[in-house]
Point group: C2
DNA sequence: GTAAATGATACCATTTTAGTATCATTTATA
DNA sequence: TATAAATGATACTAAAATGGTATCATTTAC
């Protein structure tokens, strides 16, 4: 998020990992890995070779926190009812599951409403 | 939760782990460990010796999902801002943290509203 | 005294998380 | 055209969390 905020703040300039490392004090290889993932997922565009680096592939108001979480943590499932590695036989009738599903949906809705734009300044 | 629901449904009878194992098909040692924790945390009362077992220590409408989650997963902190094992220097000014804290508070409020009582039937 | 119960605690395997390291490829430019 | 500066791909590692198991000690009803 810090890297994305920095990149967004430099509107449409190509930013290198080295620049981010200096500004944000994030370990170089770690940050590279993250930016590579964001590139594959089309949040960033990358440019190889000398003079290369990264830029946003989308406008800041098109980048949603919900999507970033999905990219790094996988799909939301607070509620993946397993027991001893088998699916719980009561998944369909379980009242608890219904209540948690409900909360999950609301959280996801909130996370969709947080854009990179909304985190600048 | 399954065990608590079963125990609650047998109002004020002492229930043994063996009975729960038969009804709920949860491994014996695993269930014992869980019930021991619930006993220590005063959600259950335990009775040792022959004829012993477990009972609710509270009424079903005094047992909150939020507390059970805290017991087994530790305190809620979706938002424990660490980086390279150090606290992030921006914790206080971070807009993202503020937004997530907000969501967290609402989720906790919801989890507090779910009681064992509300999961019976 | 013994069987039936919980208490305490140590142990283990697997998965996830957080991060490092290295070699390959691309490209601007001197 | 060689080289330096950038990303791409990918393999590796250490530590922590997760999901359990196993065992010995203690208590208590009968």
């Amino acid at each position: 998020m810090k890297a994305l905020r920095y990149i967004a703040s430099q509107n449409n300039k190509i930013i290198t990992v080295s620049e981010l490392v200096k500004k944000l004090r994030i370990p170089h290889s770690f940050l590279r890995k993250i930016l590579q993932i964001l590139n594959k997922k089309r949040i960033l565009k990358s440019y190889k070779g000398q003079g290369g680096g990264f830029m946003l592939a989308l406008k800041p108001d098109e980048i949603f926190l919900a999507d970033l979480i999905r990219i790094f943590h996988g799909p939301f499932k607070f509620n993946d009812c397993l027991f001893v590695k088998k699916k719980c036989p009561e998944v369909n009738s379980c009242i608890l599951k219904r209540k948690i599903d409900n909360i999950e949906q609301r959280v996801i809705a909130e996370l969709k409403s947080i854009t990179l734009e909304s985190l600048l300044q």
